[in-house]
Symmetry: C2
């Protein structure tokens, strides 16, 4: 079966010039994928009439569906509406439905409608309005020679609300889409090349309707399996059977699937074992606590964190021995164990974890260069530490430290029940 | 003067299907912009020969420079090299320089070169190798009929190292680029439409070589001013003079410029006033501490944070009165003040801040729905609280809470010295 082909067109100098990252097109393609619509191209052009018109023509020649974001603001640099009117050869007129909806938004937030806001209700006459329930720029839907065009605001939560509530349900109805099934396998602790060598013969044995992609990320590699066919349930069975083979090859590196994240996986393990955790953080500055509490329901197992950025607080809040600090320094195995034990005992948790290191870019020394980080795990019976040698980039070091702490907790929790990590 | 036109071509199913966000193209266009090269289009295509060849042809018809990322991995789904060989009508051969460099990487990390890795040194014969100092996929540089093509790996830190150390310096030499000057003005506390109304007549008065763009984001609006001309110093003067006019109109909403962030601006204010800060966090779960400590040098003013996720820790670690919790609840003005005061006194800081709320998506009640958040600021003489009514999305609520705390601290620090906030 032929897949419905979609193109995503992003309009805005701010994205072209790199002032902001385009996260919209990623979200859109993921949602389209779920309903079996294949994104074949993403294009970003500037707020320029000729570029917008050119991109619309090109997309028309390739796609069944064109999703457009951006350029709908109330300000003068926003050109999407006049360009769409020109492209579909129609005028811009005050749209009564759109005006009514913009007015409702203003009543809701208790502000007076300005002339600039009123302008937002002028739309190309050939469009059908897509209601913007959470913002003032209406969406537009056009149909021309078998191709559907949908224009949405660039503000992410407005676009997402519109897509979720109106556009995706309607697209599912309009287009007959094939069955498609994806599964993402998430690994940690092995590089892309080594993984490829381990699973090379399995990869070659995959049937032609199942595709594999490697997605390397910071500190981890994801594998995406995609099957296209007629029957969703059949495809799921096939993928699951392939993943069982994969597990027999590289199971110890697999920490989760699909929406699983290290924090969610660790959270599930803690909840399942009825254990609580607390952290003592120095170089990670709260990032471990934030990763854990980013998961809804984390209050079931997360008690709290003491972010002791200054050494005197490592003593007063965490009970680290001043003699340990003066003889070994804050970035040492001795200190990290006392920090983790402090978090565990003071917050009365089953498990204590801790971080201390030089996140950079400043603060390094010859024997403790930037990127030197100690992490620790302690519970009633065990204490484990790891020394990490990371990079010069502060944000990356904080992220990798957080990942290493969660990975260590996961390993220990699996070992507790005798499972392989 | 005609600007050099660049196109960025991103290759990879993982981006088209929305499995990952393309941050590379944003970074590349920002760097090109700094040296006066204008990105005119960004395109993402799949790992498919016909799509890659089509996109290369189209880019050739419009651009002086084509920057390509992705599809260079050692695995079978990576097609960029054979496509480039086909496009430039040449073969793939073992490149001795590339092989030597790949070998060096393996010696450095102490691993044995596998056959898969050795494949990475096979390159189109018409390319010039761009050394990959931090990874195993070499970059490639082609020149054909006046257009330059540069192919780089998709792994962000490999691409960035290559660009910074080799490609950008060489592009600056090859292309004669015009003077260009950008300045970003960052506002908080006013929506895009209202801002547009306040500065509409100023915007209309801008000379044609200065352009304004509105960049709305979560909780803030940025304004980007761009001037193109011959003399960088002259352009800077003009932009600065325009920004002075802007300040007289909406100065109270402007918190910073260019690379300034709320955490960096607050950090500079604290350092300048020789004040220290500590936080007590519940719903933000460490995000306030993480935002502050994301700034290098934050140990000058940040002491630490107590993330008291459980109510009993609000009592034992922060000294909140159990009676306050039982009569008003954790999400209340009374509790938030005791938390902030606890952080201030226990960590011995000049300023204490606190957060407590219902981040969602679960945990709401009719009188305290999801998105209800209290924040507080206390110092020796003042105590201020704010009640926020946010949304249903946990991650957004945590981010907006953090922003609100930092914005409150900034306002208070400015008021201390009698400056306008």
């Amino acid at each position: 079966m032929q897949l419905i082909r979609a193109e995503i067109l992003t309009i805005g100098d701010e994205i072209l010039y790199g002032q902001i990252v385009d996260t919209n097109s990623q979200w859109i393609s993921k949602e389209l994928d779920k309903i079996g619509i294949k994104t074949i191209r993403k294009t970003t052009v500037s707020d320029s009439e000729s570029d917008i018109l050119g991109a619309l023509s090109e997309a028309t020649s390739r796609a069944d569906l064109v999703l457009i974001t951006g350029g709908l603001g109330p300000t003068n640099d926003d050109l999407t509406k006049p360009c769409l009117a020109k492209f579909f050869k129609c005028g811009l007129e005050l749209n009564e439905q759109a005006l009514k909806e913009v007015k409702q938004i203003f009543i809701k937030i208790g502000r007076v409608l300005t002339e600039t806001n009123r302008q937002q209700a002028y739309l190309p006459t050939k469009c059908r309005v897509v209601t913007n329930r959470v913002g003032t720029a209406p969406g537009m839907w056009f149909k021309n020679q078998g191709v559907a065009y949908i224009s949405m605001p660039g503000v992410p939560h407005e676009m997402k609300t519109m897509m979720t509530e109106q556009i995706l349900p309607r697209l599912s109805k309009i287009f007959q889409t094939p069955a498609i099934y994806h599964k993402m396998v998430k690994t940690i602790g092995i590089g892309e090349s080594w993984l490829a060598d381990e699973i090379g013969s399995w990869e070659k044995s995959l049937p032609p309707h199942i595709k594999l992609a490697y997605l390397p990320g910071l500190g981890e590699v994801k594998l995406r399996l995609t099957a296209v066919g007629k029957d969703q349930i059949e495809l799921k069975k096939e993928i699951d059977s392939q993943i069982n083979k994969l597990k027999s090859l590289v199971g110890k590196y697999i920490y989760g699937y699909n929406q699983d994240t290290l924090p969610s996986v660790v959270g599930d393990l803690l909840r399942g074992r009825k254990l609580t955790i607390a952290s003592a953080e120095s170089c990670s500055g709260g990032a471990v606590a934030q990763a854990i509490t980013g998961i809804s329901g984390s209050s079931d197992y997360f008690l709290g964190s003491i972010v002791a950025y200054q050494n005197n607080l490592k003593v007063s809040l965490l009970g680290v021995n001043p003699a340990t600090l003066s003889s070994h320094g804050a970035v040492s195995e001795q200190t990290i164990f006392e920090m983790a034990e402090g978090a565990r005992s003071i917050l009365n948790a089953d498990i204590g974890v801790a971080t201390s290191g030089i996140a950079g870019p400043g603060g390094g020394s010859p024997d403790k260069p930037v990127g030197t980080v100690w992490i620790a795990y302690v519970d009633k019976e065990n204490k484990i530490s790891r020394k990490l040698s990371l990079y010069k980039d502060r944000a990356i070091n904080i992220q990798l430290t957080t990942q290493a702490v969660l990975s260590l907790v996961r390993q220990r929790l699996l070992e507790m029940n005798g499972e392989k990590s």
